[in-house]
C-alpha cells in the first residue's frame, strides 16, 4: 500500500462490555459473555447460548437519549453506541469539519422488529414507522443522522466478512482523497431469524464454542457493534491527532466453492491473506499475532488452519487466537470488534486467550494461545470469512 492509514478512534459494544475499556477488562480477565437468551422471545431460549447484550432496546434508547418517536431498531441502536464512542475517542468535535463518511455493515439490519410485527403491522399503527427501518441501508443512515454526519454513507453486507470490507473500503476512500476521514465498522443484533437460520444449518454448539479444538461442535451467535475512525495523514498532522494504530494491509477474495461452506484447501482465505500481506509490504515473518476468524465450526477452523499453513508454512504459523469464545460470532460486526481487539492487543502488548481449547485438531499441528500472554506486538493479521465465499483479511500495525 502506498501509505498506511491512521486509526484515531474506536468504539465497541459487545456481550463482554459496553465500551472499549470494559471489553479490554473482560478479555484480560478471561471473562466471556456467552449466556442464556433473555432479551428476545424464542423457543430456543435455555437450550442455545449466545453472546447477548443485556440491554433492552428501551434501555439503549435511553442511553442514547433518542426522541420518543424514533424508529431505530436494535442493530442501529448498538451501532450508535459504538459509533458515538469511536467519534468521542477520536476527539472529533465538529463531525462535518472535514469530508467525513460512514461505512457501516450489517447482515440482519432491522429484522429484530420486522420479525415481531411481520404479520401484524396492520393491527399496530404505532409500529408501522418501523417498516421504513427494515433495510440495511437505513441502519447506516440512522447512525449517520445520530452523529449529525452529512457525507458519504454506505453499508456493506458480505455476511460474516462485512465489517472487514467496510474498513477496507474506508481505507480506499481515504487513500484516494475521496474522504478525509471515515468511521468504519459494523453492527448486528441477534434475532430469531438469524438464530433459526444458523440452527437449521446445524452449526450452532449446544454449549460454549471451542475454536480450533478437535472436538468443536459449532458456534455461539453474538451481537455487537464496533467502529474505528480512519483519518488521512493531512488531518492527523493538522490536528496533531494521536494515532492508535495503522491499517497497513487488506485483502479480499472469493472462495468460489459453495454458498455457505469453505473449501477444503481454504483457497479464498489463502488469497485474502496473501493479498493483504502484499499490500502491506510486510514479510510474513513480521506478523506477531493472528486474530483468526475461528468460529469453532468444524468446517471453518479446518479450512482456515490449512490456509494459514499454506501462507506461513508448516510450524511457522504465528501465535494465534480466536476471540469468538468471548463474544460469540457477531456476524457482520465480527471484523469490527476484532479490529478493536487487534488494536488493544498492540497497545497493551498482550495476546488474548482462545478460551475453551482442550485438544489439538488431528488434521494439523496448530495450537492457539490459551492463556493471556504478554508479547510485544507490532503487526496483527485479522481474518473474516463469510457466506457467499467472501473472504477478507486486514493487517493492523503499531503506531
Amino acid at each position: 500500500m502506498s501509505r498506511k492509514i491512521a486509526i484515531t478512534g474506536m468504539g465497541i459494544i459487545s456481550s463482554i462490555g459496553n465500551n472499549v475499556e470494559e471489553n479490554f477488562i473482560s478479555l484480560k480477565s478471561g471473562k466471556h459473555g456467552i449466556s442464556d437468551i433473555e432479551m428476545f422471545e424464542t423457543r430456543h431460549a435455555g437450550s442455545i447460548k449466545t453472546g447477548e447484550i443485556k440491554w433492552s432496546n428501551e434501555e439503549l434508547i435511553q442511553q442514547l437519549q433518542l426522541p420518543e418517536d424514533n424508529n431505530v431498531t436494535r442493530t442501529s441502536l448498538l451501532g450508535m453506541m459504538a459509533a458515538r464512542e469511536a467519534v468521542k475517542s477520536a476527539e472529533i468535535s465538529d463531525i462535518n469539519e472535514y469530508k467525513t463518511g460512514l461505512i457501516s455493515s450489517t447482515s440482519v439490519a432491522g429484522m429484530d422488529i420486522t420479525e415481531r410485527y411481520f404479520y401484524s403491522y396492520e393491527d399496530f399503527p404505532e409500529k408501522q414507522k418501523y417498516i421504513d427501518a427494515h433495510d440495511a441501508g437505513n441502519s447506516s443512515l440512522a447512525i449517520a443522522d445520530y452523529l449529525g454526519l452529512k457525507g458519504m454513507v454506505s453499508t456493506i453486507s458480505t455476511a460474516c466478512s462485512s465489517a472487514a470490507n467496510a474498513i477496507m473500503m474506508g481505507a480506499k476512500l481515504i487513500k484516494n482523497g475521496v474522504l478525509d476521514r471515515v468511521i468504519v465498522g459494523g453492527t448486528d443484533s441477534l434475532s430469531k431469524f438469524t438464530l433459526n437460520g444458523f440452527n437449521t444449518l446445524m452449526i450452532l454448539t449446544d454449549s460454549y464454542n471451542t475454536p480450533f479444538d478437535n472436538d468443536r461442535k459449532g458456534l455461539n451467535l453474538g451481537e455487537a457493534a464496533a467502529f474505528i475512525v480512519l483519518e488521512s495523514d493531512e488531518v492527523v498532522k493538522k490536528e496533531n491527532k494521536k494515532v492508535l494504530a495503522y491499517l497497513s494491509g487488506y485483502g479480499n477474495a472469493n472462495d468460489a466453492h459453495h454458498q455457505t461452506a469453505s473449501s477444503e484447501n481454504g483457497q479464498g482465505a489463502f488469497l485474502a491473506m496473501q493479498q493483504a500481506l502484499k499490500i502491506s509490504g510486510l514479510e510474513k515473518e513480521s506478523i506477531d499475532y493472528i486474530n483468526v476468524h475461528g468460529t469453532a465450526t468444524p468446517n471453518n477452523d479446518l479450512s482456515e488452519g490449512i490456509a494459514m499453513i499454506r501462507i506461513f508454512g508448516e510450524g511457522q504459523v504465528p501465535e494465534f487466537s480466536s476471540t469468538k469464545a468471548f463474544t460469540g460470532h457477531t456476524l457482520a460486526a465480527a471484523a469490527g470488534i476484532e479490529a478493536v481487539f487487534s488494536i488493544l492487543a498492540m497497545q497493551h502488548s498482550v495476546i488474548f486467550p482462545n478460551l475453551n481449547f482442550k485438544t489439538k485438531m488431528q488434521e494439523f499441528d496448530l495450537v492457539p494461545v490459551t492463556e493471556l500472554k504478554e508479547k510485544n506486538i507490532n503487526h496483527v493479521l485479522s481474518n473474516s470469512f463469510g457466506f457467499g465465499g467472501n473472504c477478507s483479511t486486514l493487517i493492523f500495525s503499531k503506531s
Binding site: 437505513n138 447506516s140 443512515l141 452529512k150 457525507g151 453499508t155 473500503m169 487513500k175 475521496v178 468460489a256
Partner: protein, 353 residues
C-alpha cells in the same frame, strides 16, 4: 486521473430491455401500484433444476451479468461488485414465514442460505469460478453508485482492469403489502401517477437488474466514460442546486455543458421537490425522467444508467423520457441525479466514449 469506460450494459426491467431496439417500444403504465420486471426465458440461460431454487433477483442477475460479460468479451472479471437495496428479500421472506408459521421448528436451511445480501455476487463468482475481489453494497438508494465508485478507484489504482458491476432488487409479496400500508406505495385513489407534477406522496414500485463491465481501456463497444460520482446521505432542499453546481465545478463544467440531465422523478411530491429545484439552473439541457418506465426501487438508477449508456452510444433520446423539448444535435455529457424519498442523493457524470 485516468478514464474508466462502460464497455457493456445489460438490463432486465419493467421494459423489455434485453431485446434489440427496445428503445422503440418503451411504454409507461402509470395506473398500477406495482410494476413487475419482464422475465426473460430463463431456460435459455439457466439449467431447469437451478431455476426452481433461484429467487427472482438471482435469476435476473444471473442473466444480466452473463449478458454484460459476454458483450464485453470478458470471461473472468478482476472484481465483482453488486449493489442492492433489499438484497434477497424473497428468500428472506420465505425463511421468516417458515420461522413464524412453524414456530421455529421443522425448518430447512435453503431459504436462509440464499437470504444473505451477498448471494447474488457470491453466486456469480461461483458460476464463473471467479476468486477475485467480491463486494456487496446495500444502501437505501446509492448502492449502484458506490459500486461504480469502488470499481473506478480500483481501475485508477491499477488493481483491476475489467470489473463486473451490477445492481438488482426484487419485489416480495408481504413487503409490497407493508409498503402499501405505510403509503410508501401510492394509494389506489391517487393513481394514475403524475410523475412530473405530482401533488400526492408515494410511488409506483418496480424491480430490475442492471449489469455493466467497467474497463480501463476504451473498446469498440464502449458506451460511455464514467467521469465522476458524488454521493451524500442527506441534503436540505435548498442545498440541491449547490450540490449540483459544486459537482459540475469540480469537473470544470458549467450547466450549459450538460447535454442531458436524467432526473429521478418518482411521483412522490415531497421528495420530487429536490429534482425540481435541481433542474432549475439547466436552461439549455434536455431534461429527462425515467421512473415512469422502471418504477421506483432501491436500485432504479441501474435502469437510468443503462438508458444513459444507450443514449450516449446511439445519440438518440427517446421522446417518452423528455421533460422539456430541448433538442440536442450531439449528446456528450449526461448528468444523472437520483435519491429515494430524500435519502442517499447521488450524482453521476457520464461522457460519450
Amino acid at each position: 486521473m485516468s478514464a474508466v469506460y462502460i464497455n457493456s450494459a445489460s438490463c432486465i426491467s419493467v421494459q423489455d430491455t434485453l431485446k434489440e431496439n427496445f428503445l422503440l417500444d418503451l411504454k409507461a403504465d402509470q395506473s398500477v401500484q406495482i410494476l413487475k420486471a419482464v422475465d426473460p426465458n430463463y431456460k435459455e440461460f439457466i439449467p431447469p433444476a437451478m431455476i426452481r431454487r433461484m429467487s427472482k433477483t438471482v435469476k435476473m442477475s444471473s442473466v444480466a451479468s452473463s449478458y454484460a460479460l459476454k458483450e464485453a468479451g470478458i470471461e473472468k472479471p478482476d472484481a465483482i461488485i453488486v449493489g442492492t437495496g433489499m438484497g434477497c428479500s424473497q428468500d428472506s421472506e420465505k425463511f421468516l414465514k417458515n420461522v413464524i408459521d412453524n414456530k421455529e421448528e421443522f425448518l430447512t436451511p435453503t431459504f436462509f442460505i440464499q437470504s444473505t445480501h451477498n448471494t447474488v455476487a457470491g453466486q456469480i463468482a461461483l458460476g464463473i469460478q471467479c476468486h477475485a475481489y467480491n463486494f456487496t453494497y446495500v444502501n437505501t438508494s446509492s448502492s449502484l453508485e458506490f459500486s461504480f465508485l469502488d470499481a473506478k478507484l480500483q481501475i485508477i489504482d491499477g488493481e483491476a482492469e475489467n470489473i463486473l458491476v451490477g445492481a438488482a432488487d426484487e419485489q416480495t409479496g408481504r413487503t409490497m403489502d407493508l409498503y402499501r400500508l405505510h403509503h410508501i406505495i401510492k394509494k389506489e385513489e391517487d393513481l394514475p401517477a403524475d410523475y412530473l407534477h405530482s401533488e400526492t406522496d408515494g410511488v409506483i414500485w418496480g424491480e430490475g437488474a442492471s449489469f455493466f463491465v467497467l474497463g480501463k481501456d476504451k473498446t469498440e463497444n464502449s458506451y460511455a466514460k464514467v467521469r465522476d460520482i458524488q454521493i451524500i446521505n442527506r441534503l436540505d432542499l435548498e442545498e440541491a442546486p449547490s450540490f449540483i453546481t459544486d459537482f459540475l465545478t469540480r469537473n470544470d463544467l458549467k450547466h450549459e455543458d450538460i447535454d442531458a440531465v436524467i432526473l429521478g422523478f418518482s411521483g412522490d411530491a415531497t421528495s420530487d421537490a429536490y429534482y425540481t429545484k435541481g433542474m432549475d439552473a439547466f436552461k439549455n439541457s434536455a431534461l429527462l425522467y425515467y421512473k415512469h418506465l422502471s418504477g421506483e426501487f432501491n436500485t432504479a438508477s441501474g435502469f437510468s444508467t443503462f438508458m444513459a449508456c444507450h443514449i450516449l452510444k446511439e445519440q438518440q433520446i427517446p421522446d417518452i423520457m423528455m421533460i422539456n423539448s430541448e433538442k440536442k444535435t450531439e449528446v456528450k455529457n449526461i448528468l444523472l441525479y437520483n435519491h429515494l424519498a430524500g435519502n442517499d442523493h447521488s450524482l453521476m457524470l457520464l461522457e460519450r466514449a
